[in-house]
Amino acid sequence: MKSWKILLVDDEEEFVSTLAERLQLREIRADTATDGEEALSLIEAKRPHVVVLDVMMPGLSGLDVLRRIRTQYPQVQVILLTGHGSTREGIEGMRLGAFDYLMKPIDIEELIEKIRNAVESSHQETSSWGWRR
């Protein structure tokens, strides 16, 4: 099992649970959350390397959660999942500091490649922070 710490966030419980199971088959363990508040609690408790975050959620939207992550947990990388056939939300997310974005439905191998890049970037951010201290 890889040492990556991943958090999947989407209000569709069946989507995140199935995706977590598919990742586990590929040696990647992932926690899941179904709303923004739960996601922020899990980020505080577990400090994941990467958060895979749906943009369109009731309550705190994905972009709201992204803003909170960028200010409070700068070493955590965010991959956004956008729902519509437009890249507009993804581009807006990148402007706010997301690492990358994917349009649903996702290709799992493409997601894993983006997670791998984001984990490497998270490690670099963490070591950079350590150097500053």
Binding site: R22, G83, H84, S86, K104, P105
Partner: protein, 115 residues
């Protein structure tokens, strides 16, 4: 046409557009879950060793069909979603490729409808 009637029609269009956009979003969520679920089944089938499961091909083929039809549904829903959002702004910048795709898609789809 009086201004009041134009205003009422604009509100009607906005209402139907909002409902259509919302429902296409939900349909897409359904399709995404179907795709992940069929993908999960494909993952487990791939773990079966050759010859250990006699119906491997019989199940793999419909799973492949499900994947293809999901993508077809997502494409159709995406175009309908964009169409539903088109009255959101009276003036807007548009991607020319997407616009041409819609101009081609809707007449050809209407022509093929079996109603």
């Amino acid at each position: 046409m009086g201004m009041e009637k134009i205003d009422l029609e604009a509100k009607e269009v906005a209402f139907f557009s909002k409902i259509t956009a919302g429902i296409t979003h939900e349909i897409k969520n359904v399709l995404v879950i179907v795709k992940e679920s069929s993908g999960s089944m494909e993952d487990f089938l791939s773990l079966c060793q050759a010859g250990s499961f006699p119906y491997l091909d019989k199940i793999s083929s419909p799973l492949c069909t499900i994947r293809g039809q999901v993508l077809r549904g997502v494409e159709l829903g995406g175009l309908l979603n964009q169409f539903a959002h088109s009255p959101d702004k009276t003036v807007a910048s548009r991607n020319l490729n997407e616009l041409v795709e819609q101009l081609y898609f809707f007449p050809s789809t209407l022509q093929n409808l079996r109603v």
